[in-house]
């Protein structure tokens, strides 16, 4: 029987309490310290919720990140964020980082947080369990989603980010890391191999093909997570335990956990796999909070 395990990742929707608290902070009616404590407490609560409903692997809920790039960009770039850019083909926007000098690792300073940069609170709050994963945006996506000055060499920007990522992995003692690549290059950036060997990496990469790996054939994360059945075949060939996004993270329709589980078993069996991961398309921040909570409960049952 195929072993099915569930994964939840990325930005989780903020509760009403958090949204209102952030609004107060923006109006200077709540101080940095108080908002930071509130954020950390809320993250712990969300992690307890994931655990309670049986999610096998989950990332930090990232409720103080503003978007998938903002926290890391605040840490690594000197320039402010300005331009609002559309995130893929959605009605959600991110603030585009402007890269004018090669990124380098700095320290997040609480007193420098602004609504445009990052919100107060810890970058990560681990529950120290075997389920917890850290989260980082893929390096290719970071670069593709940014505006890079013409004076800089793209390859060197990628390599600068790689150094930073390896430092972050070491600094936080990351055992498990989910790398999220919604804006991939045609070919896998070869520096990813260093990341794959530094932690147990779950790699969500959109548009997976064998060709993606043609310049980096030996690259092998612990798990490659595909968006559909066709890409799942590539994921199965190129990782230890492949994953597939069967749950729709962009629709409020509530799936039947049994049907999701059956699909996962059928797809895995057809490839003679012993195990696979099931997760969702896109991160849950595109959904209302109450629906995301319900989807977590469904996803937890898929992994049983």
């Amino acid at each position: 029987m195929v072993k099915i395990r569930s994964i939840e990742y990325g930005l989780y929707p903020r509760s009403e309490h958090v949204r209102l608290s952030i609004s107060k902070w923006e109006r200077n009616a709540l101080d940095h310290n108080s908002l930071g404590k509130l954020m950390d407490a809320e993250k712990k609560e969300i992690l307890r919720f994931f655990n309670r409903y049986g999610i096998d692997f989950y990332t930090d809920p990232l409720i103080n990140w503003q978007d998938i790039l903002r926290m890391v960009a605040s840490l690594t770039l000197d320039t402010p964020f300005e331009k609002i850019s559309r995130y893929r083909e959605t009605n959600t926007f991110y603030r585009q980082p402007l890269i004018e000098t090669y990124p380098r690792l700095g320290e997040i300073r609480e007193d420098e947080s602004t609504p445009d940069s990052h919100l107060p609170g810890s970058m990560y709050i681990s529950d120290n369990s075997d389920h917890y994963m850290y989260f980082l945006p893929g390096i290719e996506s970071f670069v593709n989603m940014s505006n890079i000055s013409k004076e800089l060499k793209r390859e060197r920007v990628l390599d600068s980010l790689l150094e930073i990522y390896l430092d972050l992995i070491k600094k936080h003692g990351m055992e498990r890391l989910l790398l999220f690549e919604p804006y991939p290059d045609a070919y896998l950036y070869e520096g990813n191999s260093d990341i794959f060997s530094s932690a147990q990496v779950f790699y969500v990469r959109y548009g997976l093909t064998d060709n993606s790996f043609s310049k980096n054939r030996d690259a092998r994360p612990f798990s490659l997570i595909a968006s559909n059945e066709k890409e799942f075949k590539v994921a199965a060939r190129r990782s230890e335990v492949p994953g597939i996004a069967l749950m729709n993270g962009q629709n409020t329709y509530l799936e039947d956990p049994e049907k999701l589980r059956e699909s996962a078993i059928k797809i895995s069996s057809s490839l003679k796999l012993d195990e696979c991961f099931v997760t969702h398309t896109e991160y849950f921040d595109f959904l209302p909070h109450v629906i995301a909570d319900k989807k977590i409960q469904i996803l937890g049952k898929v992994g049983e």
């Binding site: 445009d116 921040d285 209302p288």
Partner: protein
């Protein structure tokens, strides 16, 4: 000095005064209406002081948000909670759970009030069918096309009703702006954008229709399909992607480069150019706005075809910042008009 060129206009929303925003969702009936009317009059005064030629509907004080306001007047949509637009800005995205039907008019009270009180041109924004479909979770219709066309039929009904109100006391043209911020989100769906927008205005005479699109990755696809759109103009965003450097050359105004391309494809429509960025508090200097407009005139060569507006609604800025941006926009146009 020609005053009928470079018409200054706003796009739609403006920050609500605190006395209205703090109670909007908690109050109803005549108490809320009085506050909406008060806020509309105050915003109308602000727009008049800024010097706008077209005051829109004075900042959409009757609406909380462009999607939600329409959805609340329809059957078939459930709201499970807000979803994020950017930073800590949210909107309530509905789930279509059954056939959508119009329960009541979305905008007749707002239109009637502004018609009684405005002395300048009016333009009524209305959320377009494609955006309504794209911004809804679809749990009921077979596909997005069916959903978008269902919304188009509803909008057609609403616009006819509003035109009925307009034409009872006005003989001048009724300006309607179809808000389609989602129009270029999915490049493969431009046909559906055209089909649904055209269906929403089909058979309605006596109106000037424009389409508002913003934050597109490629206006080219809009222009290339735009000749099929049966409306009279575009109101677009540009300032967000432009530099703040002065200058009228192509190097300084790269964000506006698509205007030259537009003019080659479809010169029958007018174009409203976004000259001030609504997502930052930076108040664009008059000279910068002048330079942006001059570049546009050079590209399009007919200032009568150009209207001047902010990139989008100003509701994410304070009222003070919004006013300053509009004032500078109008002052820039005044300077340029002296040359004609």
């Amino acid at each position: 000095m020609k005053s009928d060129i470079l018409i200054t206009q706003e796009i739609g929303s403006f920050r609500k005064p605190q006395y209205l925003s703090s109670v909007f969702r908690k109050t109803s009936g005549s108490e809320l209406t009085k506050l909406k009317e008060k806020a509309t009059l105050e915003t109308l005064d602000l727009f008049n002081r800024a010097g706008l030629d077209n005051i829109g509907v004075a900042g959409e004080m009757y609406r909380w948000e462009m999607y939600e306001h329409v959805a609340a007047s329809l059957e078939g949509i459930e709201f499970y909670g807000p979803v994020r637009s950017f930073d800590n800005r949210y909107y309530r995205k509905g789930s279509v759970v059954s056939q959508v039907k119009r329960k009541n008019s979305f905008h007749d009270d707002e239109l009637s009030f502004i018609m009684r009180n405005a002395t300048r041109k009016i333009k009524l924004p209305i959320t377009g069918p494609y955006t309504m479909a794209d911004w809804s979770f679809n749990e009921h219709y077979r596909d997005k096309r069916d959903l978008a066309l269902a919304f188009a039929d509803i909008l057609n009904e609403e616009i006819r009703h509003l035109y009925g109100i307009w034409s009872k006391s006005r003989s001048d043209i009724f300006e309607v702006q179809i808000d389609e911020p989602a129009a270029t989100t999915h490049p493969s769906e431009m046909d559906l954008v055209v089909e649904s927008v055209n269906r929403s205005i089909e058979g309605i005479n006596g109106c000037e229709f424009s389409i508002h699109v913003c934050y597109s990755t490629d206006y080219g696809m809009l222009f290339e399909n735009g000749s099929e759109l049966k409306l009279q103009g575009y109101n677009l965003e540009f300032a967000n992607r432009d530099t703040n450097e002065l200058g009228t050359g192509s190097d300084h105004r790269k964000a506006f480069a698509e205007l030259k391309r537009y003019w080659d494809i479809d010169s029958t429509k007018f174009i409203g150019i976004g000259v001030t960025d609504v997502h930052v508090d930076y108040i664009e200097p008059v000279q910068l706005i002048e330079d942006r407009i001059k570049y546009a005139i050079d590209a399009i060569r007919d200032p009568g075809k150009i209207r001047v507006n902010p990139d989008c609604g100003l509701r994410t800025r304070s009222r003070e910042v919004g006013f300053a941006k509009l004032k500078n926009m109008v002052d820039a146009v005044k300077e340029i008009r002296k040359e004609y």
